[in-house]
Symmetry: C2
Subunit: 269 residues, 2 copies
């Protein structure tokens, strides 16, 4: 059966998942496009429903091996009009999956040398790109405050390129408390700031947490007060600032550099 | 006089500047929003016309000191309907400036320790962000091939945050020839690639040029062949790749790190 009405209850349910409150209440979100649906399958995410645009499936847009995997799930065939009504992108690819939120624990893994805390990252593209980079540098977790954009926002999910399935996303309701806990566990708290002579290249990335702030206002003053160290990203041009995802990635890649350089100097010994 | 008709010849001219061919022919482009107009004024760009949405000006959206600067230029007051017809953004800020393209020379400055070559960067946001980072690390030039997105595309210009006014953009019609010229001038050519054991942290950033490739296909094979060295950005997670602007920025910031570390070790001596 092909659903052709926007008033279908299941369609109304899925469309409402664009809204954070409804996502929180249902513990569900959705991902769009074959690449992300494939990632969800590969990562064994809790796929509740896969919605397929009937016209797209008919024109052979999907590969047989993907369709075979998809068919193992609860599928909903809908008309193109209905599909476009649900989805969030300008050029829909004709497939989306409704997924139960990851069973992220609230427990922080203290054994990673770098813990990343996001305090008020607002732009969905930046948030998604930061999660993507986090995954690329081999970190398994991130702490986000409740003033950040929701990580299950469709635009964020898209920009993560699948990293959302792999990272333990710890949603902190009170960053001050979380940071105090980190300090009790002997984690050094570093913030990026401009009013310091120290650069990120002077910091030893070991048992440390770094706070990355809002695109415009940076890290909240009350968190800056709790920090053990400030470090800046050196800048030489007349451009006032870096894109937030770029700044975060530069900070994260210094972690990679120290790790790679250390292990190669060990090899030489 | 307030222009209220979309058929006004000046309005039709400005709107056509969304099209690359027309931009090339006229040697003009436009920037939107007060921040970029202010940058254009500060950088003494060749401002031909400033277009102001009359309703926006009336509601006091602009600051008096900005209006004073703006009034020194050739101004065009238009109705909100006409303004929205011209401009490129979803939430227009009610001001844009038509600017003569920068008098970029085709001459490469060989004395910079790092020369960046962009080969087929396609996404406007990525292109703009890369130019913004280039400016932040203190580089004065970039070489772009003609298969890159046009740097004067309104979306690119917006993402540069003004860096477009400050960087010498060298448009190469034949990258192969350009690279041969660089080699004649004793510049070492490095490409980012995955099929190598060397990382960017093994490369000494000195008299070198780095080629950054297309988002999906990387650097063109014929240019890879011309390279003296391959280097990879280390990756540890299951995410296949970095965002292109992030990858470029990680490469560029290793230049900063080497510069900063060198100068501080000199100071210690």
């Amino acid at each position: 059966m092909i659903i052709t009405s926007k008033d279908n209850e299941q369609i109304k349910h899925i469309r409402k998942l664009k809204d954070k409150k409804f996502r929180d209440k249902q513990g569900e979100f959705f991902v769009e496009g074959m690449k992300l649906v494939r990632e969800a399958i590969d990562e064994k995410a809790d796929i509740r429903t896969i919605v397929i645009c009937d016209e797209c499936a008919e024109t052979g847009r999907f590969e047989p091996k993907d369709l075979y995997e998809i068919a193992k799930h609860n599928c909903l065939y809908v008309s193109e009009k209905v599909f476009n009504h649900i989805c969030d992108v300008q050029n829909p690819q004709g497939i989306l999956a409704v997924i139960g939120k990851m069973q992220n624990t609230k427990k922080i893994e203290y054994n990673e040398d770098l813990i990343v805390i996001l305090d008020g990252v607002q732009d969905p593209g930046n948030m998604g790109t930061i999660l993507r980079t986090l995954d690329s540098v081999g970190l398994s977790q991130v702490i986000v405050s409740d003033i950040c954009v929701d990580v299950y926002n469709p635009k964020v999910v898209r920009a993560t390129m699948g990293a959302v399935f792999r990272i333990n996303i710890i949603e902190s309701e009170d960053l001050t408390e979380t940071i105090k806990d980190l300090k009790k566990n002997k984690i050094e708290i570093v913030v990026t700031a401009l009013d310091t002579n120290k650069s990120i290249y002077d910091v030893e990335y070991k048992k440390m947490a770094i706070i990355i702030g809002n695109e415009v206002n940076g890290v909240s003053p009350e968190l800056v007060k709790l920090a053990d160290k400030k470090a800046k990203i050196p800048m030489f041009g007349r451009t006032e600032s870096l894109n937030a995802a770029v700044a975060a990635s530069v900070v994260l890649y210094e972690y990679v550099r120290q790790k790679v350089t250390k292990s190669s100097s060990k090899e030489t010994k």
